[in-house]
């Protein structure tokens, strides 16, 4: 049987390996929960601060909380790129990635095992922000939970792929922090996750779509406002971006990773 054939027993073996890796990574997150807790709580805190600000500058497109919730969510998920990147980079600096690659697990399985727990964290972050906004500010889910889930999952996948790619370029945690801090702030601002695009200078309107944050805000806002077309278009862009960026990250990991001196 060729390596590329995925027969039923092999599929079960793949599933067992991925589940094993996911459990292993959940254990690691549980034993060092600080960064995750901060990523979960900070958007909620900032939303409380930002909501009056957006109410003051409301431009009639909907309730202020529909402006605030997706933006803080997107901004803090952008910073979560560093969490994803650090999780992968740590495997490299600890040299555990090379060792894992000597097992029957494929690169895809290893990446799935590493990123699924983080996907869970990102989705939990979204659920917390939306739940809090609904409870405290009366946020309505006009597009329904399913549309919001599509928007949220596509955004989380995009963040995961970006984090994986950044990790393949960074050699140290300091490099990773510098890149993710600067790019997180820049792309959040450019994409309208900090200040609504309508309030930004005209030339920035044209530039905004190059930022994934722009599509993240559009997907989540569209889902909250019930604008299905906007939400699905943005979700499609984010998913496409996740596939392309994820594929490049996988290629780099397959080709170069494991022996740092080869990069």
């Amino acid at each position: 049987m060729s390596d590329k054939t995925l027969a039923a027993p092999e599929f079960r073996a793949t599933a067992r390996r991925v589940v094993g890796l996911v459990q292993h990574d959940f254990l690691q997150l549980r034993r060092d929960p600080g960064p995750v807790i901060s990523r979960l709580l900070m958007p909620v805190v900032l939303m409380v601060v930002f909501e009056p600000l957006y109410r003051a500058t409301a431009r009639g497109s909907g309730p202020a909380i529909v402006e605030a919730a997706p933006r803080v969510l997107v901004m803090f998920s952008m910073f979560a790129i560093s969490t994803v990147g650090a999780a992968l980079l740590t495997e490299r600096t600890w040299r555990t990635w090379s060792w894992l690659r000597t097992t029957p697990a494929s690169t895809w399985e290893l990446l799935a095992g590493k990123t699924l727990p983080l996907l869970g964290v990102l989705l939990l972050q979204q659920a917390l922000v939306v739940g809090f906004a609904r409870l405290v500010f009366g946020l309505e889910l006009a597009g329904g939970v399913a549309l919001l889930a599509v928007a949220g999952v596509s955004w989380a996948l995009c963040i995961l792929a970006c984090g994986a790619l950044v990790a393949t370029f960074a050699r140290t945690n300091n490099q990773l922090s510098s890149v993710t801090d600067v790019s997180g702030l820049l792309l959040s601002s450019l994409g309208g996750a900090v200040v609504p695009i309508a309030l930004m200078p005209g030339w920035l309107h044209a530039v905004a779509p190059i930022s994934p944050a722009h599509w993240g805000v559009r997907a989540l806002q569209g889902a909250l406002l019930g604008q299905t077309g906007q939400a699905l278009t943005a979700a499609a862009v984010l998913t496409g971006l996740a596939v392309v960026v994820g594929a490049v990250a996988c290629w780099r990991i397959n080709r170069y990773w494991g022996r740092p001196e080869l990069l």
Partner: protein
């Protein structure tokens, strides 16, 4: 069985593997020795599928590494040279992870974790996090993770570096036991006495190729012994063919008895204090081969 044939791997101008040939039979321990940069680790990384050779072929149990790397990886157990463990994860969790990745079901996994922890003296440490362990204990965890699924081929890259005597004893005993059960073991080390304890055959790598491969006894049979003679005299007497080092005379020879008799005949036995015949060692062999290869190239 592990077979590497005519392997080549370059890093820029450096030839890490340059026609590297090595076969390890089931039940055999091959001690792969050589200076740093001789190609030992590169060879193990090629077998593990971590590196793609520029030329040549590796098969494990008849399966080509380049064509079916994942099937090969299910047949090997690897203990890398560098410690590569998760500090916040316990010993048991490490063994379970590697056992599951190798495809062990829950029942067998439990049994193998118990067995390998006993072999590697880890039973008392199973629920301790790696961050709390000493360097030697971490070495044992790393080797145990390579052994846990009982692979038919073991690749152990300097597994006793920095290990205390207890760790070394446990590790060597476990490796020997696996070979006795039929595993093919490729074991790199700079501690050559370990290879005698493992009853290993020897492969010597120099500049990316194997320059000698045989039993230790046969490889050493072609080397001279060193004869060291001390006298009670204040200075060792000057004698043709003998080197004076500190307070003794030394001579490298294939005929120590005959040479000693000749020396005593020339100087007399009255002043003789001690005689030591040092048989050739693997280190002597290695240094000689390294020099010969350098001269040839």
């Amino acid at each position: 069985m592990l077979v590497g044939e005519q392997l080549e791997k370059r890093y820029g101008e450096v030839r890490a593997l340059d026609g590297f040939d090595l076969t390890v039979e089931p039940g055999e321990v091959v001690g792969l020795i050589g200076h740093n940069g001789a190609g030992k680790t590169t060879f193990l990384e090629v077998v593990s599928g971590l590196l793609r050779p520029d030329a040549g072929r590796v098969t494990v149990c008849g399966i080509d590494v380049r064509q079916q790397p994942r099937r090969v990886r299910a047949l090997i157990g690897v203990a890398p040279q560098e410690l590569a463990l998760y500090p916040r994860i316990t010993v048991r969790e490490h063994l379970v992870l590697f056992g599951r990745l190798a495809g062990l079901g829950p029942g067998r996994l439990r049994r193998e974790v118990d067995t390998v922890s006993q072999e590697m003296l880890l039973t008392e440490l199973l629920d301790r996090r790696v961050a709390e362990l000493s360097g030697g204990q971490r070495r044992r965890v790393q080797t145990a993770a390579a052994l846990v699924h009982r692979p038919p081929v073991l690749l152990l890259d300097e597994p006793t570096v920095g290990a205390d005597p207890a760790t070394r004893d446990a590790l060597l005993a476990a490796v020997r036991a696996r070979a006795t059960e039929g595993a093919a073991v490729c074991y790199t080390t700079h501690y050559l006495p370990e290879l005698e304890r493992l009853r290993a055959n020897i492969a010597i790598a120099v500049k990316g190729r194997i320059v000698a491969r045989d039993t230790g006894q046969r490889l050493l049979a072609g080397l001279p012994s060193e004869l060291r003679v001390r006298f009670t005299l204040p200075e060792p007497p000057s004698t043709a063919g003998w080197e004076s080092v500190d307070d003794e005379l030394r001579r490298t020879t294939f005929h120590p008895g005959r040479d000693l008799a000749a020396l005593i005949g020339a100087i007399g036995a009255d002043e003789l204090a001690s005689v030591v015949v040092r048989p050739p060692t693997l280190e002597d062999l290695y240094h000689r081969l390294a020099v010969e290869v350098s001269d040839v190239r």
